[in-house]
């Protein structure tokens, strides 16, 4: 867990950079951020002084949510994003020890909802579970969870059949989404929503930067180490980790190195055949090569499948709403 002094040091270091940037964004990742409530309180105090800095919804699995936290959230203005991979326990069995825990989470979310409105639900899509995705989304929507984001998980092998399942599910999801919109229902499913807005506005650069922050984001681990990528800090491969390591808050941080990674191309570091050129959402996704479970590199086929999934979401959205 990050110490208060580390937090303050990081904050002090970040502030001048935040002031130069348009719409600076702070993101807390875990683990489980709600375990560090005291840090959240400190952070809230810092944010109340620097109102320009926006804090994204804090990810949580929702199990720790209680009245105290809810009060804190109300007073601080912070908000939560719940990691839920569907409305059924089956879809979430990897997250919760038993069904009771899952039911408790649903109850907590319900309490949150009554206080703060429809929460953001972050759905991680695992290979092997993609074929039931559309059904789970339908159930979530039916139960009032109409703010959803989909994220195919990185670091897992996506085989061809998993990718095919995902494509089919995603097409169904787009249909569900279109139907809801057509009936006037307020719904948000990302990345579809985001892609629609950005494509309509021609904000191709935003599409690219939202998909991969490499080159313009910095991540601090609890001990103050700085990385150019969130996932890099979890890498077991020391060489690879060093590629993204930027320094330590207590020593020096190399921002030039961070900026240079903006121009990283995975085709430069591997013999991958470039298939997706525009918008450039997977060109830097070196994380696509990693198997976190096996602590090794994935087969090329799995890498291609993972990259294809990301590009598929964008192109399918484009094809549905913009291609005549």
């Amino acid at each position: 867990m990050m110490s208060s002094s580390t937090l303050k040091r990081i904050w002090k270091w970040l502030l001048p950079y935040f002031k130069k940037v348009d719409g600076p964004l702070l993101n807390l990742v875990g683990g489980e951020p709600l375990l560090s409530l005291s840090l959240l309180v400190e952070l809230s105090a810092l944010l109340s002084i620097e109102k320009k800095i926006r804090l994204k919804e804090i990810p949580t699995n929702g199990i720790l949510l209680d009245e105290g936290i809810l009060d804190f959230l109300r007073s601080s203005g912070m908000r939560l994003a719940f990691s839920l991979d569907g409305y059924s326990y089956a879809a979430n069995s990897h997250r919760f020890a038993n069904v009771n825990a899952f039911k408790r989470v649903l109850s907590n979310i319900s309490a949150y909802k009554s206080m703060f409105g429809t929460p953001l639900i972050k759905m991680s899509v695992y290979p092997g579970k993609a074929n039931g995705l559309a059904c789970e989304i339908e159930r979530l929507i039916h139960n009032g969870f109409t703010r959803l984001t989909l994220e195919p998980v990185v670091g897992f092998p996506w085989h061809k059949e998993d990718a095919e399942d995902f494509y089919k599910s995603f097409k169904k999801i787009i249909r569900i989404y279109s139907t809801c919109l057509a009936s006037g229902q307020k719904i948000s499913i990302n990345p579809i929503d985001k892609y629609r807005e950005y494509i309509k506005m021609g904000w191709w650069d935003k599409i690219e930067s939202d998909c991969c922050g490499l080159g313009h984001e910095i991540v601090f681990s609890p001990n103050g180490d700085a990385y150019a990528c969130t996932l890099a800090s979890h890498l077991c491969n020391e060489d690879l980790r060093k590629r993204f390591y930027l320094g330590n808050i207590y020593k020096k941080i190399d921002l030039d190195k961070m900026e240079k990674l903006e121009h990283l191309h995975i085709c430069d570091t591997s013999n991958i055949e470039c298939r997706h050129r525009f918008p450039n959402i997977t060109c830097k996704k070196i994380c696509a090569f990693f198997d976190f479970k096996a602590k090794d590199l994935l087969d090329m086929e799995c890498v291609y499948n993972y990259l294809n999934i990301y590009n598929f979401m964008l192109h399918e959205t484009y094809r549905t709403y913009f291609l005549k």
């Binding site: 021609g202 298939r275 050129r277 525009f278 450039n280 060109c283």
Partner: protein, 896 residues
């Protein structure tokens, strides 16, 4: 004495004169009354007063046969006195009109002959022409003062008669008066056309026959006619003889040289009577007398292939004996023509640029109103393809039957069928604005050509005048060629410049923004039209990316309505690719050229195929005069090219300047550049060559020339960044080079290898460094959005520009456009793309395409725009400008 039919010297007289002259035994003289009438000289005023007398046929015959008419006596006496009261042993009268035997000419000749006989009883009066035998014998029987009459239309017969002395034996082909009375024989003389000497025009004052500064000489390639039209009295009808082709070409070459003319009218009854012969003749004409322009009579039943051969052989005009557009009358006339064959012949000739001169017949007794109506409809339908129409009313040419002659001789009333009828087509010709000019007038008509650059469609906004150098170069290449060929009547109107600097006009348009483009165009046309004179041709130059297409169309539409016989021609880079679309959409445009080659313009004006000639000197005087006349700023730059085309075949290039590379003669280049240097105190030249270093050896020679020119030129050029040594750049700088435009295109090594130029990033950097070291501004161009391009290409471009920032002055970022005529357009599959023709609007510069394993077109277009914007922003952030090269150079030299 005697006339021909059309406004050219009489061939029959020239033929006979040549034959007689050959003997060496006679002194020849010519009394040419007709040329006075043609030129409306003082002597013709006497004719004017006498013509009304001469058209009273009965009165004339009474004068000739019964009682002398005082007025006619006075008239003929006047004519003879005005002609110098000539004395001769033989007075030979020609009484033909083309191939017809003319009553009017006969009567005039008889009146004059009688007067001459009275004053010189010993002189022999001889009549000749295409007179039917029966007519000749009748006339000889009646008119005792006529001593001889040619019966067979063969000049050799007449020569024999002239040389007979006291021998009264019959002479083949001539009826003559001997002691015992009229002597003649029915024995026929063989027509020996190949033995005919070249016609002798030395007796004529040819200057007085010139039309628009040109003399058209008549010539016959054949004699006779394959047809036997019932209304025609041609004595050679039904038989046909041709001269040997070698003789024809020799004669024409001689006549052309001797009489200093390249214009001929072939007097043959129908040039295409023998197609096999004509097929051999035309190539011979092209080979032996390539400069001649000719006109001829033709039967409108002819293949396009033959017409092409004729055009290549110098044919500029064809007089079509259409007669009627009624199938019934065509069948009756039996010339083996049908309405379809007539339409095809005229359309094909028009398409090939051959003038169509149409003759129609009216007044035949078999004619019905329906036949006239059908012919009127034909004219209405075909008038866009017809240049002139002549209606021959029955009797007008003087056709007359023997029965009519006898009636006149006996003083009986004229036979109804022989009386001259009224014109039938005058009103429709007037309504359709079809002229009825003489054949010679059409053939020799001076052609005025107006070259027009209309303002841009976005006027008063849009690009500046500085970036339109290519239009000036193309136009003045054409104008220079026309002037070198002594073509007068050229007009140049640059409304882009004129309005561009006219503050009041600009101000007006800025204060009154128009709701619709049509409203603005109407006002622009109202401003332009008064400055545009009537021309035979209006050449509208449409610049790249059709920036001025709409305004050009608006003015062209107006001019076509005002001058329907004028030809509207669109040309320029946009037209090179979109000629079909423009032609299909705008019927008032007569032709859309697919090339900028000045020879094409010349061909249109000269109406003949032009042998491609090496380019001559550039002449910008009209441009300078135009600017001075309108008080416009003198030109800052002169556009020029020392070569055209490119030796490379880069896959994206549409080869606008031509696939084949040619170089202008360096001597001419030297002369041109020296001339340009005199046009300004600080002469600045913008070279449009695809690359000045296509040949380094030649470039070296060019630089030596430029270094020696005073005042020193300042110039800009395109170069290929390959094999350019520092020594060469140093020499260029010394010779006045201030600015080089480098087509870098891409910094991706893979794509560089795919581009034919074979560039290399390291070498480019070295060259830029060296050029900059010698004070040359480097302007580079980069193309983004190639098929299968990705962000790496962008990164490479950004890195290159950033790293070489100090050696670069200006960067142009262009989006890849799939252009027609490029290799990638021809073989899209080879490049992994497919072209979406359904999305092609037909008027923009670039075809939509999709990457087969990549982006669909809409997304590809977004990618191109996105990358382009990023790169442009980067260029700007580095303090570099992205400016049109010509504008950049203009500013560079202005601020020097």
């Amino acid at each position: 004495m005697g006339p021909g039919m059309i406004k050219s010297p009489a061939l029959d007289v020239a033929n006979l004169a040549a034959l007689i002259r050959q003997t060496g035994r006679y002194r020849l003289g010519l009394i040419d009354q007709r040329v006075d009438v043609i030129n409306a000289s003082a002597a013709s005023s006497n004719w004017a007063s006498g013509l009304f007398l001469l058209n009273q046929f009965s009165r004339c015959f009474d004068h000739l046969l019964k009682c002398p008419d005082h007025a006619l006596n006075a008239f003929t006496k006047n004519v003879i006195v005005n002609a110098g009261s000539p004395k001769a042993d033989f007075f030979i009268f020609s009484i033909s009109v083309l191939e017809q035997f003319s009553l009017q000419y006969l009567i005039v000749s008889l009146c004059l002959a009688k007067a001459l006989k009275v004053s010189q009883p010993c002189a022999k009066i001889v009549f000749f022409g295409n007179c039917p035998k029966k007519h000749a014998r009748k006339l000889m029987a009646v008119f005792s003062f006529v001593d001889a009459f040619l019966e067979d239309g063969n000049e050799f017969s007449l020569l024999d008669y002239l040389g007979r002395g006291r021998d009264n034996s019959p002479v083949k082909g001539v009826i003559f008066r001997a002691d015992k009375g009229l002597t003649y024989t029915d024995e026929r003389r063989v027509l020996g056309l190949n033995k005919m000497p070249r016609p002798y025009f030395g007796l004529f004052d040819l200057r007085r026959y010139s039309s628009s500064g040109k003399v058209v000489l008549p010539y016959e390639i054949s004699r006779g006619c394959a047809n036997k039209c019932f209304f025609c009295y041609y004595i050679h009808k039904g038989k046909l003889a041709h001269k040997d082709i070698g003789k024809v070409t020799d004669d024409l070459a001689f006549l052309s040289k001797k009489y200093k003319t390249n214009y001929f009218h072939f007097m043959d009854a129908a040039i295409n009577s023998d197609e096999a012969y004509l097929n051999r003749l035309c190539p011979a004409l092209r080979a032996r007398v390539p400069k001649i322009n000719w006109s001829a009579l033709a039967i409108p039943n002819i293949s396009k292939r033959l017409l092409i051969s004729m055009k290549a052989g110098g044919c500029r005009q064809l007089r079509w004996g259409v007669e009627y557009a009624s199938p019934k009358m065509l069948k009756l006339i039996s010339k083996k023509t049908t309405l379809d064959s007539i339409i095809d012949a005229i359309k094909n000739a028009h398409e090939l640029g051959i003038y169509n001169y149409v003759t129609l017949l009216s007044g035949l007794k078999q004619e019905a109103k329906a036949d006239i109506d059908k012919t009127n409809k034909f004219l209405a339908r075909m008038h866009p393809y017809i240049d002139s129409v002549k209606e021959c009313v029955w009797g007008e040419l003087g056709h007359f039957s023997l029965a009519y002659l006898e009636a006149l001789l006996c003083g009986r009333p004229a036979i109804e069928s022989d009386k001259k009828k009224a014109e039938q087509y005058a009103s429709i010709l007037k309504k359709l604005n079809i002229p009825s000019e003489d054949i010679i007038e059409v053939l020799t008509a001076p052609h005025r050509a107006a070259f027009i650059i209309s303002p841009q469609d976005s006027f008063p906004g849009g690009g500046t005048v500085d970036d339109d150098g290519r239009s000036l170069l193309s136009i003045f290449k054409a104008i220079s060629l026309l002037k070198a060929r002594n073509i007068a009547g050229i007009e140049y109107l640059n409304f882009l410049l004129l309005f561009g600097e006219h503050a009041k006009i600009q101000g007006y348009f800025l204060r009154h923004p128009f709701r619709t483009p049509e409203g603005k165009e109407r006002i622009l046309v109202e401003l332009m039209a008064p400055l545009v004179k009537k021309s035979s041709f209006y050449f509208f130059y449409i610049s790249w990316w059709d920036r001025n297409l709409r305004t050009a169309l608006a003015l062209a539409r107006y001019l076509k309505k005002a001058h329907p016989s004028s030809k509207i021609i669109f040309w320029g880079p946009h037209c090179n690719f979109y000629s079909k679309e423009i032609s299909r959409k705008y019927a008032f445009i007569d032709k859309v050229l697919r090339t900028d080659a000045p020879e094409t313009i010349l061909e249109l004006l000269e109406k003949k195929a032009t042998v491609p000639a090496a380019p001559g000197l550039m002449d910008y005087s009209m441009h300078i005069d135009f600017l001075a006349k309108h008080g416009l700023t003198p030109p800052v730059l002169f556009d020029y090219e020392t070569s055209c085309g490119c030796k490379h075949n880069c896959f994206y290039c549409s080869s606008l300047s031509g696939k084949a590379l040619w170089f202008k003669d360096i001597f001419l280049v030297s002369k041109d550049l020296r001339a340009l240097a005199k046009l300004a105190i600080e002469p600045n030249v913008y070279f449009h060559d695809d690359a000045l270093n296509m040949d380094n050896g030649r470039l070296g020679a060019l630089l030596d020339i430029m270094a020696g020119i005073k005042p020193r030129l300042s110039w800009s050029c395109y170069m290929i960044a390959k094999d350019v040594s520092e020594a060469l750049l140093k020499k260029m700088a010394y010779a006045g080079c201030r600015h080089i435009r480098w087509g870098i295109e891409t910094l991706d090594p893979y794509k560089q290898r795919a581009i034919d130029k074979g560039l290399n990033t390291q070498e480019i950097a070295k060259i830029l460094f060296a050029a900059n070291r010698h004070g040359i501004d480097n302007q580079i161009s980069v193309i983004v959005g190639f098929p299968y391009e990705c962000s790496k290409d962008l990164d490479l471009a950004i890195d290159f520009i950033t790293n070489n920032r100090k050696n670069i002055s200006c960067v142009n970022v262009y989006q890849f456009k799939l252009r027609r005529n490029s290799p990638i357009y021809a073989y899209p599959g080879k490049f992994g793309i497919s072209i979406d023709h359904t999305l092609d609007s037909g008027s923009t510069d670039g075809m939509p395409f999709s990457e087969k394993n990549g982006l669909p077109w809409q997304l590809k277009k977004s990618q191109q725009e996105y990358i382009s914007n990023i790169l442009k922003l980067k260029v700007k952030s580095l303090g570099l400008i992205d400016q049109d090269p010509r504008i950049y150079f203009s500013n560079l030299v202005r601020h020097a």
